[in-house]
């Protein structure tokens, strides 16, 4: 049993469990699944500014900040208590593609060549962490949703706007992966 928990979970277990977040939030609190709105609530709660976008009662959205706090705690539990410490096993063709880009450390969830503090102020580290993070925040707010709010909740509601957003996610992701990323790492 412990072995089953500590091994990586296959998609046919993890996917349906993520899908169950949708009815869990609806049944427990009549809330719609979504994570990226928390970035807005953090700004509204913590950063003094004059923009209309942040003039609302963020306290009424406290539940979603608590949800995000739970995700942080869950990340800690999953990594500290439920991990078998083995290397992540990804497709051999991805491994060789990434090795051509100079990535050779596959021992954690992220390539340590890019995600380390010495690298943060280098061009590649700055682009990945600072620009990448900025685009995630700006883009999800402009699109009014992220992978959870649009891809999972939105597509579950058969919402055409969410499908358009998800197509946008893939256009951007493919462009970055195949055209821009090889130039910057």
């Amino acid at each position: 049993m412990i072995d089953l928990l500590t091994k990586p979970w296959p998609w046919h277990i993890a996917g349906p469990l993520i899908g169950l977040m949708v009815p869990a939030l609806l049944l427990v609190g009549n809330k719609q699944f979504g994570i990226s709105s928390t970035l807005r609530h953090v700004c509204a709660a913590c950063i003094p500014n004059k923009a209309d976008y942040f003039k609302y009662d963020w306290k009424s959205k406290l539940w979603s900040l608590v949800l995000a706090l739970g995700v942080i705690v869950g990340g800690w539990i999953g990594t500290q208590a439920l991990s078998n410490g083995e290397n992540i096993i990804i497709s051999t063709s991805t491994v060789s593609d990434l090795q051509e880009l100079g990535i050779n450390d596959f021992s954690s969830m992220l390539p340590t060549e890019i995600f380390n503090w010495e690298n943060v102020l280098s061009t590649s580290g700055f682009l990945v962490l600072v620009l990448g993070g900025f685009l995630v925040g700006f883009g999800t707010r402009y699109a009014n949703g992220c992978t959870s709010g649009h891809a999972i909740m939105g597509l579950s509601l058969l919402n055409i706007g969410s499908l358009a957003a998800v197509i946008g996610f893939f256009i951007g992701g493919l462009l970055m992966t195949h055209v821009i990323l090889p130039l910057i790492i």
Partner: protein
Amino acid sequence: MKHIKFLFIGILFGIILVKSEVISWFRIQEMFRFQAFHMYGVIGTAVMVGALSIFLIKKLNLKSLDGSIINPKPKPFNKIGNVAGGILFGLGWALTGACPGPLYALVGSGYSTIFVALGSAILGALVYGILKNKLPH
């Protein structure tokens, strides 16, 4: 305290994100290179279960714990905003290897440099909020 139930749901979500390796930069690269089914399987089955759940909730007229009627509203379709914002987010997703949920789960997992990405994401949301009225939607 009334929000503690959301803490538990978040904890479960965080554990699933870690255990399914959805938080891995490598898995996102694999997805955008079409070299494994994993991420498509995760997102695809999540949507199927989500859609089936909503169908059943409506069919059975299930109510929320507080007794309110469950009637989730689809987000409005902003043609330019959804697509342009989506593309910008996609660029960032493939760079950082993380969407917002995994950003939080990675911070909890102890990947300290992700604080930089999360801080930048909050800054990105702030800049969007300031520029919102000047952007086409």
